[in-house]
């Protein structure tokens, strides 16, 4: 090697935390991937100044030394999309964790590389078009049926088109072509996509269909739309993860991408363990078969935490493009923002509020823009959606902080979690006074049409009950509940019952973890009827103490916790209790 080429060979000049610098990088491109050090750790170019480049390193840098080599990879951080993604667990740079375990054992060591999809895997491809046809980007070429029956639609990658001269149906390995085009090029079962770039669509559509969560407090009070976005901020232990997991299990989506971003390893183990065993209530297949897990736990490298969110969104968009309803659970976007902050501060960027980079808000906005309901590119005509549910972990539970605020500015709904409610074990600990959904009215109308015409009305009544309850509780805290009038005491109790049986829902009760809209509605109606009956009795002269509210309450709780097959019987019992609410009031 000549002296001059040696001088210009890229090598490391600085290593600190997740950041490295290299010289000899004049030809590098922004966001290009590089391999650094003797171990070949994956990194990404963040900045280029003349001959020097600043890199963020996706793996642990401990032990990486100056002068070690740097090799350019030529492409930005990308992921391989195709059959085999569902049911898999990948890290923030797209490596399957099970492959990593095979390579480095129980602990993840830097420098291992493993492709997202196993290219030797064989699947059965069924062409859906005839040879000779001209295809364009986004067209469905055919299908592969995956484990559990999921129909994986194979698309013409964005930017490609041509006339198909031959299809290769039947059993194919992921590495083999499935079609040849007139220009001699091939199409494959998989396609690569640079994760930081949104995948193209034909057009955006209105959010008009409810995204069914199976959680009463959301479906009934703060519903979101398919393709909508919601921020779920809450202090530690307020129930963000339980909500994300419950939605991942039960929400009406075809595909769920669960991004464990900077959270706990045990939680990921639990998700894997549980999702493999739990059957989807709609078609009886394991929930894991519709799930992709993207995992960067809090002890994994911080730069890969930043990328994990884009990786997850790209996967969701890919299934959206096939015409599916994808949902992304991001737990937690605060960790993503903190990763930005950590890298930004190492880059000595001018810090904005609380040390976060000044571009936090715009990055958060872009990220939320990747959700939505869309008309997909290509034929046949189809629509798909990405719904984004993001947990936010505000320091000290204070929502005025930059990450919560950046998310709220762009999210369509706020499910605010309250530590006070969590302490009272009122779960989900959704603060109904501060939470809101911009989709509420439209979704209410949709539920009126699809579930019960009385849905919106019942919702308004429950909202009012909770509102009055808030006011009265303030009075009661000053004068004591005994000093209130009977009808007000009744209202307090009715609201307390509504909180317990309508809004309250244990994620761990096998019968109630998932509540279909019909059950949600019946419980809400029953609570309102109880309140009405109490009011009527008091008007007719009954005292508060004459009402047998405790029995009615217990009956309602039993209805809530009953298996689906017993719901009718329990509902009848509730009606019975309501009819005999006034002990002395035999008609």
């Amino acid at each position: 090697m000549s002296a001059s080429s040696e001088r210009s060979a890229p090598k490391l000049t600085r290593v600190v935390g997740a950041l490295a610098e290299a010289t000899g990088m004049r030809e590098a491109k922004l966001n290009e991937l590089v391999r650094i050090g003797d171990g070949g750790l994956l990194a990404e170019v963040l900045r280029i100044t003349g001959d020097r480049a600043t890199l963020q390193v996706f793996e642990e840098t401990m032990g990486v030394a100056l002068e070690e080599p740097v090799a350019r990879e030529g492409e930005p951080l990308s992921i391989e999309l195709g059959p085999g993604l569902l049911g898999s667990v990948i890290d923030g740079i797209g490596r399957p964790l099970s492959e990593l375990a095979a390579l480095t054992g129980d602990f993840i060591l830097p420098g291992a590389s493993a492709p997202t999809l196993d290219k030797t895997k064989r699947v059965t491809f069924t062409p859906g078009l005839v040879e000779g046809i001209a295809v364009h980007e986004g067209d469905v070429l055919g299908t592969v049926v995956e484990r559990g029956g999921f129909e994986h639609r194979i698309l013409v990658p964005p930017g490609r088109q041509g006339q198909v001269t031959k299809f290769f149906g039947g059993e194919r390995a992921l590495s083999e072509p499935i079609a040849t085009l007139a220009d001699g090029s091939s199409l494959f079962l998989t396609q690569r996509w640079a994760v930081r770039r949104p995948r193209p669509i034909a057009g955006r559509k209105d959010a008009s269909r409810p995204f069914l969560t199976g959680q009463r407090v959301f479906d009934f009070l703060f519903p979101i739309a398919e393709g909508g976005t919601v921020a779920v901020p809450g202090g530690f232990g307020t129930g963000k993860t339980v909500i994300e997991q419950s939605l991942a299990k039960y929400a009406e989506a075809d595909v769920v991408v669960y991004i464990g971003c900077g959270e706990r390893g045990n939680e990921m183990a639990e998700v894997l363990h549980e999702f493999a065993r739990l059957k989807d209530p709609r078609h009886g297949r394991p929930v894991l078969d519709r799930t992709v897990l993207v995992v960067n736990t809090s002890n994994m490298p911080v730069a890969a935490r930043e990328s994990s969110v884009y990786l997850g969104l790209t996967i969701a968009e890919y299934f959206r493009d096939q015409g599916y309803r994808a949902a992304v659970m991001a737990d937690s976007l605060s960790r993503w923002a903190e990763a930005l902050r950590e890298i930004g501060s190492r880059l000595q960027e001018m810090p904005g509020e609380e040390g976060y980079p000044t571009y936090l808000a715009s990055r958060a906005a872009k990220l939320h823009e990747r959700a939505g309901r869309v008309t997909c590119l290509g034929g046949p005509q189809r629509e798909g959606s990405v719904t984004l549910i993001s947990a936010v972990s505000p320091p000290g539970g204070d929502f005025s902080e930059p990450v919560t605020q950046s998310c709220l500015r762009v999210a369509g709904a706020l499910w605010a979690l309250d530590p006070e409610l969590a302490h009272q074990r009122q779960f989900p600990a959704v603060d109904w006074h501060t939470s809101y959904s911009l989709y509420a009215e439209a979704m209410g109308q949709a539920f009126d049409a699809s579930c019960d015409p009385g849905w919106s009305k019942a919702r308004a009544e429950i909202v009012e009950l909770l509102q009055r309850d808030g006011e009265l509780r303030e009075v009661a805290s000053v004068v004591g509940p005994e000093a209130l009038e009977d009808k007000d005491r009744l209202l307090l109790t009715a609201a307390s019952i509504a909180r317990e049986v309508v809004l309250g829902q244990s994620a761990f009760d096998p019968n109630d973890a998932y509540s279909p809209p019909a059950k949600t509605f019946r419980l809400a109606r029953a609570a309102l009827e109880l309140f009405e009956a109490g009011k009527a009795a008091i008007t007719k002269g009954a005292g508060y103490a004459d009402l047998d509210l405790a029995q009615a309450r217990r009956a309602l709780a039993m209805m809530r916790d009953a298996p689906a097959t017993e719901l009718d019987a329990r509902a009848a019992e509730v009606s019975q209790r309501i009819a005999t609410l006034w002990r002395g009031g035999a008609s």
Binding site: G265, N266, A269, R335
Partner: protein
């Protein structure tokens, strides 16, 4: 560092400030490389490269840099990364935070060396924790069950008996099925007196020989506090995943650890986060706390019981706040209960074991455990609310049911939470709870079904009497 480098020696540092020494042109310096600093007439200092740069590298020095003269110091880059010596021969030993013997015995030889910084456990290799640990403490076993592989911190306040609680747990903790277990205790910046409280109790119970002690006390070097827990955890991982022991790690006090972290950040003039703590404190703490767990196909486990002192009893302070965001629940101590002589003074309301459900129920404790705990919790929460109301409206303003709840809350604190150092089995804990619930009328037990209530001990006794 793929291949170990040879040692290189340089004379003269560019600058020094607090715990940091700045070295120019340290060739092929590696991040995390171990450094020895020698100055004439002084014992050598040890440090680590925390920023490797072609023009300038930053070395964080463990020991006190008092009197260090940068220009004259000899700097040796050792070519090695910080590591921990681990092995079964460490059981019964006391070491410093830098792993020097503190018990007058020779340096342990160990069976292996592990990188001090550890590596993240692959999440797919974890088993979800699910084995109940009986601590003998009702407020924990009954209400906030600890599970093997969990990290459950104790949130304490200045002067509250967190270490006594930890000592009691360590003395009492029984692994189910009597499997082999060990204790790793890591003192981080706590006083001699605090260390004694723990060790004396511990020695008396004869548990010392199955434990490893890492002691960094208040008078010991500050920066060593950043290494001590990592050495302790490396050792715990070895004992657990190589020898199959169930290891309980007590880290005391995380607050001192965080202060050391802040000191380094300030010396580097980093942009401070909340209250001057660095923005990466979450990630840093996670690199400790996440080193708890159970691994597929391995018999042992690492369970962590970190202790932290909430400055000013403020749970929103960044230290407890970030900890709470990483750990799997928390046990919160109450000044009020401590003042009233309740031991352990656990405030059940803000306390929570997030893995409780995995560790209780049929086959683990008793099937009705969850309902039992929920009902007691609800009654107690109601009573605490009533207690607050009394302050405003007086006892007369309470409804009869509020008054009953208030009485129950007092009894709950006196009889269930308070137990001194007496050990209670889970059966005794449950029975104590049922006895409390026997005192309230049926209508107050809204969380329990008739069927379940019929099985409580008092009812069973009644039924037996009737039969007889």
């Amino acid at each position: 560092m793929s291949a170990r480098q040879v040692a290189r020696t340089y004379r003269g540092a560019r600058a020094a400030a607090g715990p940091l020494v700045y070295v120019g042109a340290a060739q092929r310096a590696a991040l995390g490389e171990w450094v020895t600093l020698k100055a004439k007439g002084q014992p050598p200092l040890r440090g680590q490269v925390i920023d490797a740069g072609r023009d300038l590298s930053v070395v964080q020095v463990l020991e006190d840099t008092l009197g260090l003269e940068p220009a004259g110091v000899e700097i040796e880059l050792t070519g090695e990364l910080a590591h921990a010596v681990v092995g079964k021969d460490l059981l019964g030993r006391a070491l410093s935070g830098a792993q020097d013997p503190r018990d007058g015995q020779p340096r342990p030889i160990g069976e292996a060396i592990r990188p001090l910084w550890g590596a993240p456990l692959n999440p797919t290799q974890r088993l979800p924790p699910s084995d109940f640990i009986e601590t003998g403490i009702s407020a924990i076993d009954g209400m906030n069950t600890l599970v093997r592989g969990q990290k459950l911190p104790v949130f304490s306040g200045p002067g509250l008996p967190a270490l006594e609680l930890a000592a009691t747990i360590v003395e009492n903790a029984r692994a189910p099925r009597g499997e082999p277990f060990a204790v790793v205790f890591c003192a981080i910046g706590i006083t001699e007196r605090e260390t004694r409280t723990f060790l004396d109790r511990f020695a008396a119970s004869g548990a010392l020989e199955r434990s490893v002690l890492y002691l960094n006390q208040a008078q010991d070097p500050t920066i060593e506090r950043l290494l001590a827990p990592r050495a302790a955890l490396a050792c715990a991982e070895h004992l657990a995943f190589v020898h199959g022991l169930h290891v309980l790690v007590v880290l005391a006090d995380i607050t001192h650890y965080c202060e050391a972290l802040r000191e380094v950040a300030a010396a580097r003039e980093e942009v401070p986060g909340r209250r001057g703590y660095p923005g990466y404190m979450y990630t840093d703490l996670a690199s400790l706390f996440e080193r708890a767990g159970v691994v597929k196909g391995k018999p042992g486990s690492v369970t962590q019981l970190p202790i932290l002192t909430m400055p000013d009893d403020d749970i929103t302070h960044p230290i407890p706040d970030l900890t709470g965001y990483i750990t799997e629940g928390q046990v919160v101590l109450s000044r009020e209960l401590h003042r009233r002589g309740v031991f352990p003074p656990v405030d059940v309301l803000p306390s929570l074991s997030r893995l409780m459900n995995a560790g209780i129920g049929k086959g683990r404790t008793v099937p009705e455990h969850r309902k039992w705990a929920d009902q007691l919790y609800a009654l107690y929460a109601r009573g605490r609310e009533a207690r607050m109301m009394v302050a405003i409206v007086g006892e007369a303003g309470l409804s009869p049911s509020d008054r009953r709840a208030l009485a129950l809350a007092e009894a709950f604190e006196r009889e269930l939470v308070n137990q001194g150092t007496h050990r209670r089995t889970i059966a005794e804990t449950l029975e104590t709870g049922w006895r409390l619930m026997d005192r309230v009328p049926r209508e107050d037990l809204i969380k329990l079904s008739d069927e379940l209530l019929a099985t409580r001990p008092s009812q069973r006794a009644e039924a037996q009497r009737k039969e007889a």
